[in-house]
Subunit: 132 residues, 2 copies
DNA sequence: CAGTATCCCTCATGATACTG
DNA sequence: CAGTATCATGAGGGATACTG
């Protein structure tokens, strides 16, 4: 018989899950796309490069911290490029890479499903909530 | 001249963002799909109905709280059905609705992009991290 | 079996202030 | 202009215990 308690087994499974998840490509992508600001940045850059200050204006509501942090992780993933022009004051432009651009159709597919089925979802919710 | 400070303007923008986001179908879908357990539940149910206890075994690492909570929200959105069989002990089966099933191709599209481009992303990361 | 109720704690986000 | 550094908070998620 096992010497492990149920809690220990669940703990173990949780760690296995975490290990699996951190190597699962689809999960990583989902984590990236679902970030509060990523989709907005993608859309903002879809029509061409933008300066940092432009992005912070276009994506109203984002804090400097989150904008920088999000752009950095997108840069790290090879989704955007960061180009510094050492003038005074400095100018930094962000642009989509081909990889980043290849994400746009995926976003579009998600958007399409959402727009087609949003009414079904809302009807289901209304029904569910109605049957208190 | 404005009587609002920069902080007030950002605060206002943040609330406008929240209001917009809460009505944006694509964002809602992204929030749902990116939930830690939703995709696993979808996959687990893809081949047919499952009992609560089966799900908690197949999806190792999930807590009762999160499994129940996630299933409830999926049920509310019309993505799964919950069927109670009042035997002793009770038996509860969960199954995908047609709506839930229509989500599978979207998941597949995400998975496909991720699997095709994961190497590019990891190369970009290695490069980025290398240039410490 | 299939949950509900409770406490607790971490982590992500945001506000604020400062800088090359 | 384009950030970095620091601190505070609150909501999500987990552990645990109890129940029809």
């Amino acid at each position: 018989m096992s010497t492990r308690t149920a809690a220990e087994r669940r703990e173990e499974a949780r760690m296995a899950y975490d290990a699996f998840m951190s190597t699962c490509p689809a999960r990583k992508l989902l984590d990236t796309l679902s970030d509060k600001w990523v989709s907005l940045i993608l859309v903002a850059l879809a029509d061409g490069p933008q300066r940092y200050s432009d992005l912070s204006r276009v994506i109203a509501g984002v804090s400097q911290k989150m904008l920088t942090q999000t752009l950095r992780s997108l840069e790290r993933d090879g989704i955007v490029t960061r180009t510094v022009t050492p003038s005074v004051p400095v100018r930094v432009d962000y642009a989509l890479t081909p990889l980043g651009r290849s994400l746009l159709p995926v976003m579009a597919a998600i958007k399409r499903w959402a727009e087609i089925h949003i009414e079904d979802v809302e009807a289901a919710r209304a029904d569910y909530d109605g049957r208190a």
